[in-house]
Symmetry: C2
Subunit: 345 residues, 2 copies
């Protein structure tokens, strides 16, 4: 099979090879319309022997439909986003739709560029992280004439559809749970990322949740770069040296939380008796730590799946059209071993 040809094969080549019109070959290759079993087999055989691979570029241009879904996320290093991608991939698996990923590095200008490039492929839909975009980005999304699903965050107004969780609420609920356990002197640690709106909203919700009970964050620290686990260690040590009276530490993500937890265990400090801890994301990765960090699941995979389903139903590539265009999922708080304070007496 197959000969080493410089020029890629065309429908024409297959047509020639089996004495059937290009049109019919095309029909066979797409399982479209009625084709007799006989010609069908001949065509398939010829295509296989030649090693023909259809040209989607030409196909898409002619049919005016592109089976691509643009997926735009801030980062691939964060673990969180590959998981969303997995959800999307999985849901799109058995459809003709193919996700194409673009990475923005949390930069609005880059988001704009990436979106522009993706739209130039005329995808059938866009799944994009977050609700905050530059005006140009919003304009492009609004005018693309295709379904747009903004994911991961629902604190705001979507351009079109939206699936995610309320990070503000996540922060508030965590604050409530912490206070309910009787902790009162609370420190916060997170990333120094003004453009990570979800982390910001979580922080705001958290502050707000404390404020309702008249409590204020007593110390805070922000980091950037480096291994999150190591940073969590360092920052925790520094914060406790600076503010020894703290009895709870809220981390904006599980990795730094885990670093803090490991350091506290090292120091022989009683967790959650002397100090309680909580992170955010519910990363599976961390199951297996000496103690399970309290955390709140961010529903990443489900978000991916749902977003993909919305796009599918918009395009009409599925029967069950019933996918709501705005979905706020409810994250669950896991207390793990670091939030349930042992009752005094």
């Amino acid at each position: 099979m197959t000969t080493t040809s410089k020029r890629p094969l065309t429908l024409r080549d297959v047509s020639d090879a089996c004495g059937v019109s290009e049109m019919t070959v095309s029909r066979v290759l797409r399982n479209r319309g009625d084709v007799s079993a006989a010609t069908r087999d001949r065509v398939l055989a010829a295509a296989k022997t030649l090693g023909y691979v259809p040209n989607q570029i030409a196909g898409s241009l002619a049919s005016q439909r592109v089976n691509l879904v643009a997926v735009i996320i801030p980062s691939l290093s964060n673990m969180v986003f590959p998981e969303v991608l997995n959800g999307i991939n999985q849901t799109l698996e058995d459809t003709p739709l193919q996700p194409v990923v673009g990475v923005t590095d949390y930069l609005p200008e880059k988001e704009e560029r990436v979106l522009y490039e993706m739209l130039s492929w005329r995808p059938s839909g866009v799944i994009i992280a977050g609700l905050e975009h530059s005006d140009a980005t919003r304009a492009m999304l609004g005018n693309a004439g295709i379904p747009v699903v903004e994911i991961m965050d629902t604190d705001g107004k979507p351009i079109d559809a939206m699936v995610g969780i309320s990070h503000r609420r996540a922060g508030r609920e965590t604050a409530r749970a912490i206070l309910k356990e009787g902790y009162e002197h609370i420190g916060f640690m997170g990333t120094k990322m003004p453009l990570d709106h979800r982390a910001r909203k979580r922080f705001e919700g958290f502050t707000e949740g404390l404020a309702k009970a008249g409590v204020e964050i007593e110390d805070r620290a922000f980091y950037s770069g480096g291994s999150a686990l190591a940073k969590g260690r360092e920052m925790t040590q520094e914060m406790l040296e600076r503010s020894p009276d703290l009895d709870f530490l809220y981390y904006s993500n599980d990795m730094i939380g885990a670093g803090g937890l490991l350091w506290l265990i090292d120091q022989g400090i009683d967790v959650p008796g002397t100090i309680g801890l909580a992170g955010f994301n519910g990363v599976e990765l961390l199951q297996g730590l000496p103690r399970q960090l309290a955390t709140m699941d961010s529903c990443r995979r489900q978000i991916g799946q749902t977003a993909a389903r919305i796009v599918m139903s918009d395009i009409g590539d599925t029967q069950d059209e019933g996918e709501p265009r705005q979905q706020t999922l409810t994250p669950t708080l896991s207390y793990g071993d670091t939030l349930r304070r042992r009752r005094k007496g």
Copy 2:
């Protein structure tokens, strides 16, 4: 700017809007050929006002060149692969080339399907993980008429170009280092993945390295699924209960190694005195553990960068053509805190 139009805009629309031929508009939008500053500005203004986004589908078909690079990897959950992707992304950043990712889940049939779909977009190059592929996959790659870079593994013969490390050698060198430190009773733990050829080769190399010194692996265990950290814990406990005489544990990846390390620390077992440990990959994520696991860097980012550079130089999209088509990188062994045995006496 921009009106909500159902039909996407075409060059024609821009042409009409600014009274300049489609051809010239096209030239402006691609910075091609000489265009007077005046028309240039008019065109740009019109395009911006309308919110025109070029149609790459049509452009690629007409120009017979597609600025896409297909990247085919087994998984997105593994951390290792997103890092390779980051390397590719970074290198392709300032070129017109765009990576498009396909995931195979370690399944040869899926690899075949994914490759077929990617090739149908007529990408300018393919970067694909591993050297082991089905016959059909090899045929497609061989006949595509574009640069093909097989990455991550160099134990075998590439179809075209190849960048990676020798996993066999990695296993051997680790074995050598372990023996040199005086460990003699060695256990192995890894994933139960017959299709992960790199892990297999590492294991073979390791066995071989030990064999040269007349040493055999005394116990082994394989897992699948679940949190690697948790699995590392469990398996380590089970193995040491089963084979209490072991004085070294080699893990096929850092995550299970870290799980093992955490368990041993919990138990108060002397590492690396009583038992030594080593993993593989050099994942940055784990910096910050109470003790640093010995590991061997798998050069992931560099592999991505180099593969991208090979594709670029093949396409002629870069000046420095000098990128060798076969590169075996040399991973460094980090002893961390778990491999250097304290000398007796």
